[in-house]
Symmetry: C2
Subunit: 169 residues, 2 copies
């Protein structure tokens, strides 16, 4: 199993604090210094993880709109994307956080990947401004939920519903 796959597994299992060059090496059955023959360093590793996240979450977004009927409106598309976005993030919380927290290492990412992942939303929203507003809403809902910032009794389904409805008009 190569380094990135192992790192992914550790990240999802132990969280970001558990992901160290040492822990990756240990899981691979080698010593930490040997890892540097496989990977440049930690920055490179994180960029590879982010790229993987973009590829997989982007796929989930493309799939979400692909299954809609041709006559589905903006409301249906944004709702489908919102649900898929939230579901993906809740299923991969640590990876989501890694990929969306802090600056994007754009120089280290494959050209076009970021745009491809955003494509379904831009199409569904109808304009760049609306897409950015919708993304901000979705990311805000998601990260606040992951961080446990909403009160325990909060009805998050209702908040998503309310926001998606408003933003699709």
């Amino acid at each position: 199993m190569e380094a990135v796959a192992v790192a992914l597994q550790i990240l999802e299992r132990d969280g970001p604090d558990g992901l160290t060059m040492r822990s990756i090496a240990a899981e691979m059955g080698i010593r930490a210094p040997s890892l540097y023959k496989h990977i440049e360093g930690k920055e490179e590793l994180e960029a590879l993880l982010i790229a993987d996240s973009l590829r997989r979450s982007g796929k989930a977004m493309h799939d979400a709109v692909a299954s809609l009927s041709a006559r589905a409106g903006r409301r249906a598309a944004l709702t489908a994307l919102g649900h898929a976005y939230r579901a993906w993030a809740l299923a991969h919380p640590h990876l989501y956080r890694l990929a969306t927290g802090g600056p994007l290492p754009r120089e280290r990412l494959p050209t076009g990947l970021e745009a491809w992942a955003a494509e379904p939303l831009v199409r569904a929203a109808g304009s760049q401004e609306r897409a950015r507003a919708a993304w901000a809403f979705a990311h805000g809902m998601t990260i606040l939920e992951l961080d446990g910032r909403f009160p325990p009794e909060a009805d998050l389904n209702a908040a998503w519903e309310s926001g998606l409805q408003a933003l699709s008009r």
Copy 2:
């Protein structure tokens, strides 16, 4: 100058990585160990910083709606809050990030502070669900801007405008 004020100054000047027990002590003219006679530890310190952030940003929110005319509608209130929210965060980026990233240490915060800070938004939005959606949008826009996640050419004013308009209907 006591510890919290010094910590605040270092945080805003050098960012979170520059904020260590050593740096705080140095700035106060004492050694790191002596700091523990003033403050329990780093968790306590961060909770105090977060409380300060809630107090000051909450004040900005209360002020933003207080200056509205009595006949102002929901749209005007949400717009004023949105602008004040963004302005406050951009003026205190490191503190904003500290106070909104990760779980809230609710046990360490003064009772009622969180609710008080949220009050203007809940009132302006008209319901808890709408308030949560609006907060998610505002936080999403803000943190994505702070993290440089939007493309450089993005028109963030337009995105704010678009989102606030949609969410105030």
